[in-house]
């Protein structure tokens, strides 16, 4: 029977990673892969342990998300056991297929920086300047210290540099958790009621901010603009209803793409060096695009036949990576 | 060595614990210090031993100025104290407890303790005081008497010239007291200077040559024991004349009527754990049944069984004629069985709580789920008045009470439920003679009102003075029954105990 592929995700208590895993499971079924999913439970140590356990099981390939700078460690472990690895989501600052880690066959992930930038650009464009001529925004960051939060914040920073008319009233830490974001933003907004736009670091954060605004008698999307990221179903709904100005995402597909790529590698079809470092362009969503989105991606998922994209099953398969794009 | 103190003062906040005490401890002499609870005995000894610094006053050791910075400092100068409270650490072994503050003596170059050497030294000291304790025994299983012996061994292991014993006999049974008194005699013979605190005048008179009386923190006087009558001592301690006997008279037996009421508790062929075997007894309303025995003879286990804290291994019990199988202390209390445990500090009451809280703890007055504070104040006030608990207000914390008054609070807690059976385990441990007389009066008064009482005590005169009938226990068996306790002699009882 088929190869065994081990996967370690940073956490399962966020919807994003559940979507990531669900899409991979679908792929595993179609490709005939035995998938072992492990949860690092938000602990760097558990991430390393899980990788060790996968190596001890002698899995045929590993896909993991090197949060907390665990890339080097995981790749070293796998190298000793001669196991091919694909990294997803968080770029480790060194390229695949080098002498140091020949088993590091590919990286597939989004550009968080770009996403943060696009969110900011859209937000700035949508809000009006206040009496002092400045556009006042609030920022609800993700968990302090995670690379994802840092990279998205970097994108915001770049956008801020290009927009001197924007003033950041204050920043709070929402910890990527909806309830925490709600409470933190509530206080921020109390201190700075002149805020007219909020840059929220992910889907849950944006939802928390919108809840806080509603509790405060403000209409998100009208009185205060909110942008978020992840394309979680409830965020899509919020964009549809006009509460959420902008969302961007789809990168949870990266796990499935990595699976196809790794499957082919295990079956003896190496990843072409040109396709070993993929920074996914994400799918932006605004209210006017919602109808199109629902038509193109029923249930939020693109139609994707894993076998069609596997060169093992399909000699002239298109690249495994498929960027979500609107059909027109 | 001679240790003198003159005009010592010590206050805790506004409480003047010691207020002008002078004392001279001379070599080869046992010097007793007596006084009521709270008179300042322990505080005085603690200052002599460096555990407490006097606010004012002078101390000298062999004529030189003496101001020990700590207990250890005093010990190096040859002054050693056995505290009133038990200071055995049950997490440590017997030998470690003896050398607790000097374990480094046995540490080798790596800092490791030479356990074998330490244990052999410890065993030798225990043997010297005649304690039948093996250094390998588990401190968690030793009884209070044995623990006291270990503390005395600890004091002796510093090779003191001056030994201060604060109520060291309070937790000992008859046999252990004799052993300790014998050791004190021997040490005195070797020229040691000894201070001895006890609430039992017979012990004091048996062992001490000199005696200092304290009252309310003040120095009353120092006497030669051969030159002062016991009544005089009591008088000066308490400040009033005590009755000729501290034990209240038994109700006169009226030949016409049966002196005692119906049977309240009947115990048939009961066995409990390993401690107690086929015991049968009954106790009637209005009667005090005494239980004599050494530690471990089984009285404690019997109480635990009657109050539902330990299950019966065999046998059955009847309460007021109905079958009685208590599954928990809750059940026992609800059936009107009240229990006064032997260790008031850990089992009898919660010292941080107020007098009222403790008094109504067993059966708080209530309207449904709501605590009826007004009724509680009445109940507590009545008890305080009736038992004579000396306290400013029922809301005062028990922390501020003396030992005798604490004991009265525990008794009050038992009486508050209107029990039909009262189990008393050493109800006057560490209580001064005046308070003891009070407690005896209360016990007798409640018996006269129809309460059935079982009294277990290690104090022989108390048993004889208070009981109507007596059972002697030895190693879990009843060895002797005395129908008229008033006629019993200590000698007679002791013969069946050991």
């Amino acid at each position: 029977d088929g190869p065994t592929v081990g996967v370690v995700v940073p956490t399962l208590d966020a919807q994003f990673w559940n979507s990531y895993v669900a899409f991979m499971k679908k792929g595993a079924d179609e490709l005939g892969v035995h998938l072992v999913v492990l949860n690092a439970d938000n602990k760097p140590d558990q991430m390393v342990k899980s990788l060790e356990d996968l190596v001890a099981q002698k899995v045929d390939g590993i896909i993991f998300t090197p949060y907390w700078a665990t890339a080097a460690r995981g790749l070293t472990l796998a190298k000793e056991a001669d196991i091919p690895v694909i990294l997803t989501d968080s770029y480790p600052d060194f390229s695949p297929q080098t002498e140091r880690f020949p088993n590091y066959i590919a990286f597939i992930g989004p550009s968080d920086e770009d996403a943060g930038y696009q969110m900011a650009k859209t937000l700035f464009a949508a809000i009006k300047p206040g009496p002092d001529g400045k556009k006042v925004i609030g920022v609800v960051n993700g968990t302090a210290g995670t690379s994802v939060a840092i990279d998205r914040r970097k994108g915001l920073e770049d956008a801020l540099k290009e927009a001197p008319d924007v003033r950041v009233a204050g920043e709070v830490d929402g910890n990527f958790v909806r309830d925490t974001s709600q409470t933190a933003f509530e206080s921020l907004f109390q201190g700075n009621p002149d805020i007219t736009g909020v840059w929220a670091a992910n889907g849950g954060t944006a939802t928390g901010v919108m809840a806080a605004l509603k509790n405060h008698g403000k209409a998100p999307g009208k009185d205060v603009m909110v942008v978020g990221m992840d394309l979680n179903p409830e965020n899509v709904e919020a964009v549809k209803s006009g509460d959420l100005l902008f969302d961007i995402g789809g990168h949870w597909l990266q796990g499935g793409f990595a699976l196809v790529t790794l499957f082919d590698q295990i079956k003896g079809i190496p990843v072409p060096p040109a396709a070993d470092n993929v920074k996914l362009k994400l799918l932006p969503l605004t209210k006017d695009r919602v109808a199109q989105f629902e038509k193109d991606f029923p249930g939020g998922v693109p139609t994707y036949d894993f076998r069609q994209h596997s060169r093992f099953y399909n000699k002239d398969a298109k690249p495994a990576v498929f960027e979500m794009q609107y059909s027109n | 060595m001679t240790l003198t103190a003159s005009n010592l003062h010590k206050s805790y906040g506004q409480t003047r614990a010691v207020n002008g005490v002078s004392i001279e401890l001379r070599p080869g002499t046992v010097h007793a210090i007596v006084g009521e609870n709270g008179a300042g005995k322990s505080t005085s000894l603690r200052m002599l031993a460096g555990a407490e610094r006097p606010d004012a006053g002078e101390m000298t050791l062999n004529g030189a100025r003496y101001a020990p910075p700590s207990v250890i400092g005093a010990a190096t100068l040859g002054v050693s104290l056995v505290y009133q409270e038990i200071t055995i650490n049950r997490s440590l072994s017997v030998a470690e407890n003896i050398f607790i503050d000097r374990l480094r003596m046995f540490a080798g170059s790596l800092g490791f303790i030479d356990r074998r050497r330490m244990e052999s030294v410890a065993q030798a000291i225990l043997e010297r005081i005649g304690a039948q304790i093996s250094v390998s025994s588990d401190t968690g299983r030793l009884n209070l008497g044995e623990l006291k012996c270990i503390e005395i061994a600890r004091a002796l292991s510093t090779s003191p010239k001056i030994l201060l014993l604060d109520e060291s006999t309070a937790y000992l049974d008859h046999r252990e007291v004799q052993a300790v008194l014998r050791v004190i005699g021997e040490l005195k013979g070797q020229g040691m200077t000894i201070a001895f605190v006890s609430h039992h005048l017979d012990e004091v008179l048996a062992v001490a040559q000199e005696l200092t009386i304290l009252k309310d923190g003040q120095f009353v006087g120092t006497y030669r024991t051969s030159e002062i009558a016991p009544r005089e001592i009591h008088h000066r301690m308490v400040g009033r004349e005590l009755a000729k006997s501290i034990y209240p008279p038994r109700p006169a037996k009226d030949p016409g009527k049966t002196a005692r009421g119906p049977i309240v508790l009947e115990v048939s062929d009961v066995a409990v754990g390993r401690e107690l075997n086929n015991i049968s007894l009954d106790v009637r309303a209005g009667e005090i049944l005494g239980l004599a025995g050494l530690k471990g003879a089984g009285a404690k286990a019997l109480f635990a069984a009657i109050c539902g804290d330990l299950p019966l291994r065999h046998g059955s019990m009847k309460l007021a004629g109905g079958s009685y199988a208590p599954s928990s202390p809750t059940f026992a209390w609800r059936q009107g069985v009240a229990h006064l445990p032997g260790d008031r500090n850990n089992e009898g009451l919660i010292a941080e709580f107020s007098v009222l809280d403790n008094l109504v703890m067993a059966r708080p007055p209530r309207h449904g789920p709501v605590f009826d504070r007004a009724a509680a104040i009445t109940i507590a006030g009545d008890l305080v008045a009736q038992i004579g608990i000396k306290v400013q207000s029922v809301d005062a914390s028990c922390r501020s009470l003396s030992g005798g008054n604490l004991q009265k609070v525990v008794i009050g807690k038992c009486l508050a439920v209107g029990p039909r059976l009262l189990l008393l385990n050493n109800p006057t441990r560490g209580v001064d003679v005046g308070a003891r007389a009070e407690i005896y009066r209360i016990i007798r008064q409640w018996a006269a009102q129809g309460l059935a009482i079982i009294l277990s005590s290690e104090d022989m005169p108390e048993l004889i003075g208070m009981s109507d009938r007596l059972l002697v226990l030895r190693q879990g068996y009843v060895t002797h029954r005395i129908e008229t306790a008033a006629d019993a002699t200590e000698h007679d009882i002791i013969g069946h105990m050991a």
């Binding site: 208590d13 966020a14 920043e171 958790v177 939802t207 509790n215 | 709270g38 709501v370 400013q392």
Partner: protein
């Protein structure tokens, strides 16, 4: 001794009062600092927000006051809140405001398990509830698979988030529960029994108090309150998520202890707990409002926590500090 001790006791009363007012002083200090830093801090609308933010913490902390007063602890409160919020989310669409019944029920059931583990299984509460924390959280994860379950029932949301006379209903609920908890602790036999267990469990047993039962009740009470807290949190966020209430246990314990209820048991104050909750909530509200660097917030929070306990703890009453 009555004469000798009369004075000190009266004096102790005065000292007591000063001691008791420390948490209040702490609170006032925080308010003054933040008012200086931001003019918007000391406004009616912000104070209402603080009350709203503090309600969930308060409701759980009221229950925790009992448990800590008895000398035990509960680390699973955050997870119970999450379970209750989830149950609320699942049932609110059909039950509306009555979703409070399943929320309380599931909370009480979780508390019952904790109580039985401690009182009957004799597993120390720290460990029993540490295990429960992980298991309950795992159950939430299993059911949600990380996806938030939103709460949209109008009647439900109206009931628990609207305002009456300007006061949010959640705050009113918190207030009512505070009064009830105050009554239970200070006026009922149950409250006294809990206190006695914390003051001296062996004494309580020998005095006939049904220690096991009281302990179970007290965990059930805490669980039920966490059920309400979960419902309120769900209503506030209009959704239940797998991460809801993570880490709440530490805030709850801190609030109770800052309020002057020591972890050694035997003493406990509902008023103190309310102050503790306000201190913790105000601190975070004030820092977010005045824009304290998020990287610094934890340092400030931890320091204030330790200082608060350092100042407010009544060392006389506690004796040995472990």
């Amino acid at each position: 001794m009555p004469n000798a001790s009369g004075e000190p006791i009266r004096n102790a009363g005065r000292l007591e009062l000063i001691k008791r007012s420390f948490p209040l002083a702490m609170l006032v200090l925080l308010i003054v600092i933040f008012s200086i830093l931001s003019p918007r801090f000391l406004t009616f609308s912000n104070l209402l927000i603080v009350l709203q933010q503090g309600t969930v913490l308060l409701v759980a902390a009221l229950g925790m006051t009992f448990v800590i007063m008895a000398g035990s602890i509960d680390l699973s409160v955050g997870s119970i809140v999450a379970i209750a919020a989830l149950v609320t989310a699942f049932t609110s669409s059909s039950l509306g405001a009555a979703a409070i019944i399943p929320a309380i029920t599931v909370g009480a059931a979780a508390g019952l398990v904790n109580g039985v583990l401690l009182a009957k299984g004799k597993v120390p509460s720290f460990i029993a509830t540490m295990g429960a924390m992980v298991v309950y959280r795992g159950i939430v994860l299993l059911f949600t698979r990380g996806a938030p379950v939103s709460i949209e029932d109008e009647q439900f949301l109206d009931t628990y988030t609207n305002r009456t006379l300007g006061i949010p209903h959640s705050v009113i609920i918190g207030l009512v529960l505070t009064l009830i908890a105050y009554g239970i602790i200070n006026r009922t036999v149950f409250g006294r029994e809990v206190r006695a267990i914390g003051g001296g469990e062996r004494v309580a047993i020998l005095t006939g108090i049904q220690v096991a039962r009281v302990k179970i009740y007290m965990y059930v009470l805490l669980g039920a309150l966490c059920g309400i807290a979960g419902l309120l949190q769900g209503a506030r966020a209009m959704a239940a998520t797998a991460q809801l209430g993570e880490g709440l246990e530490l805030d709850v314990i801190a609030a109770v202890v800052v309020g002057g209820t020591p972890l050694t048991g035997g003493v406990g104050s509902v008023v103190g707990t309310v102050l503790g909750v306000l201190i913790i909530t105000l601190l975070s509200n004030g820092m977010n409002m005045t824009g304290v660097d998020p990287y610094l917030q934890n340092i400030v929070k931890g320091t204030v926590l330790v200082c608060a306990v350092f100042v407010t703890i009544d060392r006389k009453k506690i004796g040995i500090i472990k």
